[in-house]
Amino acid sequence: MKTLIFLIRKEFRQIKRNKVLLPIIFIMPILQLLILVHATTFQIRNVNIGVVDNDKSTTSLNLINTLGASEFFSITAFPAHISEAESMLAKSQIDMIMVIPQNFGSNLVREKQADIQFIPNAINVNFATLAYSYATMVLRSFNIRIITETTPTIMPVQHKVVNIIPRYYFNSEMNYKWYMFPGIMVILITMIGLFLSGLNLVREKEIGTSEQLNVTPIKKHHFILAKLIPFLIIGLLELTLATVLGILVYNVPFEGNFLVLVGFTFIYLFVVLGIGLLISTMANTQQQMMFVAFFVVIIFILLSGIFTPAESMPNWVQKLNVINPIAYFMKVIRMVMLKGSGINNLIHELISMTIYAIIVLSLATFRYRKTS
């Protein structure tokens, strides 16, 4: 026990003395959370629209103004012809074309019907779909207004319309940042756990100190624990720091119990630290370690459902997520923060992660013994 404490103190002393690592450990989470949460948002704003107005009536002008007044769109160009608009779309000067046909205004009055055309840039499919559906939403409100304006008041029409009033549970304001924030937190904690622990061990190999330690009576599990515990503590500190930042900067609602999240993160950190150590037992240089760890992390992150819900991935991909610790953590952290889930809702994840931690750490310890 005395040796273990001494070993841990040595690790902290080395971390403290590392002029690159120490600032990164605390600056990285702040920057990541402040920048990346915005960068990964799927909310669409400032869609640039080029309007080809072939009608030039009051009605068409009215429509253009309605669209432009929406916070999602800005009308940035009025190309004279559709071909000009298309070339602007090709050059990415605009994101969507709206074509208003000739006689749009008069048709609307005479025939109570008129068509307009939207041509969104669909390189980013998600963006195009959203931009289009926003545009139709704006158009619908325009329609209702037109109907009330053009229908003679002497003959009041009863609009028998079923109004759907949606209420969005767990993120009532449909705030995408609230969804992304926990996701970025997961990346952060994973990076700390997986990279730092493994790199630390490989560094001892590289500078030869692990050889020197091998001839001492130091116990292997003490050595491994001394590599885990400092980063476990740092990981939990980062979690706290990030949570505070989320509440202060993004007003992220923290519905659940913070201690539940800490408890789960504790187990999760054992898993990623274990993976880091396992990779490091196979690597001889920090370069190898870095490359393999990066490869693993990227796959795990993208599979985990950080951007798109894992449930909408193909079935076999979802099956892969059984061995993806990040997917478990991604799910749990969102459930706890946004939904307020308690321990009884997380039993399955808790058990899976505990088993995972035991397997990975045993493997890492076993491999470490074998190679030395």
Binding site: Q14, T209, E211, T216, P217
Partner: protein, 304 residues
């Protein structure tokens, strides 16, 4: 007492050690002498429990290096060839660290390292990475000694160290020997062999000879002369051409020559060299040293 019996170790396709057996007495300075790749480091790694032998047995003061490895680690101090202490910890922190790992303190065994540590103590708050080469070496030696080992294993401690520091280092080893420590040291420098009590000459994973340096030199079977001339390259070339010469190799500033039969006439050789056009010829009878013995043994090995 360290006994080595029938030890073999193979790395994939390379045979590092082939069936070697010998013993090292208590309280002697035992030198492992041989070129790079001879198997010196492999033997040291086997002795310090870092490698498992393919077969054979090593016992260090009665403890088997495989089954009793924990006990062996407690009585052995090891200083690897490469400086492998924490560069980002200070001198004192490094020493403290290794003391704690062995469940001891600096104070407890201070008398053993006092002589060496005093020289680096003024820099005890400097990080190890910023020390000079000689000081790093002293720190590494202190760390290897901090748990008062019975056996000290040093892997090429003087490689890349200047002549003055090398002499100083051997002085330190002599003093440690007086404190009752058995010292095993490897070196590629033949001139350091005479500073050991006994040496083992190693080549290609086999031991050519084990004896005191004096006996090894005494048993040198041949008549050795040192030749000098103005054009050394031509001299070596001509000596090799000489009908009676057996081995010819550059040694320091002269050329050492042995002969196929030991009653070669020096005047005859001189005349031969003159007739080949060498000038400023100087021939002396030379005292063989370990390097000559090593060369001779290697040659004998090759011919077998």
């Amino acid at each position: 007492m360290i006994t080595v019996s029938n030890i073999s170790k193979q790395y994939e396709s390379v045979k590092a050690l082939t069936n070697i057996s010998f013993s090292i007495n208590d309280n002697e300075i035992f030198g492992l002498i041989g070129p790079d790749g001879a198997g010196k480091t492999t033997f040291m790694r086997l002795l310090t429990t870092m490698l498992l032998p393919d077969n054979g047995l090593i016992e260090a003061n009665g403890f088997n290096t495989v089954s009793d490895y924990k006990k062996v680690r407690n009585i052995i101090g090891y200083m690897p060839g490469r400086f492998s202490l924490y560069q980002d910890l200070t001198v004192e922190e490094n020493l403290n660290f290794f003391a704690s790992v062995f469940n001891t303190t600096i104070e407890q065994n201070y008398d053993l390292i006092a002589n060496i540590y005093k020289q680096i103590e003024p820099f005890k708050n400097r990080v190890a990475g910023k020390l000079s080469g000689g000081m790093k070496q002293k720190l590494a030696l202190s760390c290897a000694l901090i748990h008062k080992p019975e056996i000290l294993v040093l892997d090429e401690p003087t490689t890349g160290v200047d002549a003055v520091s090398r002499m100083e280092f051997w002085q330190m080893l002599k003093r440690l020997k007086m404190k009752g420590i058995t010292i095993i040291v490897s070196t590629p420098y033949m001139d350091e062999a005479s500073l050991c009590d006994r040496v083992a000459l190693i080549q290609n994973g086999q031991i050519l000879k084990i004896d005191t340096p004096e006996n090894i030199i005494k048993s040198y079977p041949k008549y050795l002369i040192a030749v000098n001339a103005k054009n050394k390259y031509k001299l070596i070339h001509d000596l090799r051409k000489y009908k009676n010469s057996s081995s010819v190799f550059a040694f320091g500033s002269s050329v050492h020559v042995t002969f196929k039969n030991n009653n070669t006439d020096i005047d005859e050789l001189k005349n031969f060299l003159i007739s080949e056009g060498n000038v400023e010829i100087d021939i002396n009878i030379a005292q063989p040293d370990i390097e000559d013995c090593f060369m001779e043994l290697m040659k004998a090995e090759k011919n077998e």
